[in-house]
Symmetry: C2
Subunit: 137 residues, 2 copies
Amino acid sequence: MNENLEILKRNGLSVTEGRKKILDLFLDNEGALAHADIEKYTDAAFDRVTVYRTLQTFVDKGIIHQIPTTDNSILYALCKHKCEAGHHHDDHVHFICNLCGKTICLDDVTVPAVKLPKGFKPAQAAMVVTGTCSDCK
Amino acid sequence: MNENLEILKRNGLSVTEGRKKILDLFLDNEGALAHADIEKYTDAAFDRVTVYRTLQTFVDKGIIHQIPTTDNSILYALCKHKCEAGHHHDDHVHFICNLCGKTICLDDVTVPAVKLPKGFKPAQAAMVVTGTCSDCK
DNA sequence: CAAAAACTTGCAACATTATTGCAAATATTG
DNA sequence: CAATATTTGCAATAATGTTGCAAGTTTTTG
Ligand SMILES: [Mn+2]
Ligand SMILES: [Mn+2]
Ligand SMILES: [Zn+2]
Ligand SMILES: [Zn+2]
């Protein structure tokens, strides 16, 4: 069975062209995608609003997760672990390559715990490393 | 001597009302500021474009640093270490409080090193922790 | 399988945020 | 203080994000 279909059904989502296509992009793409990438890769076949809503739906369901950036954009990538609606477990480090520009989920590199000052209670931690990726090295 | 003035001169920047005022905001404010905050705190006394350019200039000079977020905004905070033009050394963890919304530079908490897969060469690492801050606890 | 119900999409209108060129204003230099 | 260098605000333009709603599509029901 197509993996995209399987994922949509498992999450109780109606199966539509747009959702299948956008999910495929994530499944086929190793790196993370920004809203703009998706518009480009789908040749603007779907309305910009639909893309916004689809991404939001996927995040809500725990199908994709967001990666913070420092350039007024948000990157999205597949959740490979068992994320559920309302509860993500994406504790891995993200790597942004300065040369090729790709953002890669280092699924096997866990964000290390840090000791916070008194009174601070951590809930989630994100880590983004920049540098040169293994392809560009 | 006023600290803002001192910082501007040290970095070879012309001293203007806008720069002094915006720099003061950072000096007076413990937390990080977004572009929108600055417009609000200055009562829109300066054109939006001037604020963009001022923030960019400060980042370039190593006076402030950027903090990545997951909501299409960029936060800025003072560099407290010896950052130079073109070379930042802000290796500290950032904490975003889910209750009061403040973003705090944990200047004494260093981003831990992580072991990356073969071929990846790190240059910089950023870490953002969310949760409850010491004021809101 | 067809009808009803539930949900998703695209459009249009609108709002917010960001970028650029350029002339006027301001700051620095000597 | 005059000459020069730099910064600012404005206007125009672009890019990005949000909302309501009617039409279209998918799912459920009998
Ligand atoms: Mn990831
Ligand atoms: Mn900081
Ligand atoms: Zn690369
Ligand atoms: Zn707080």
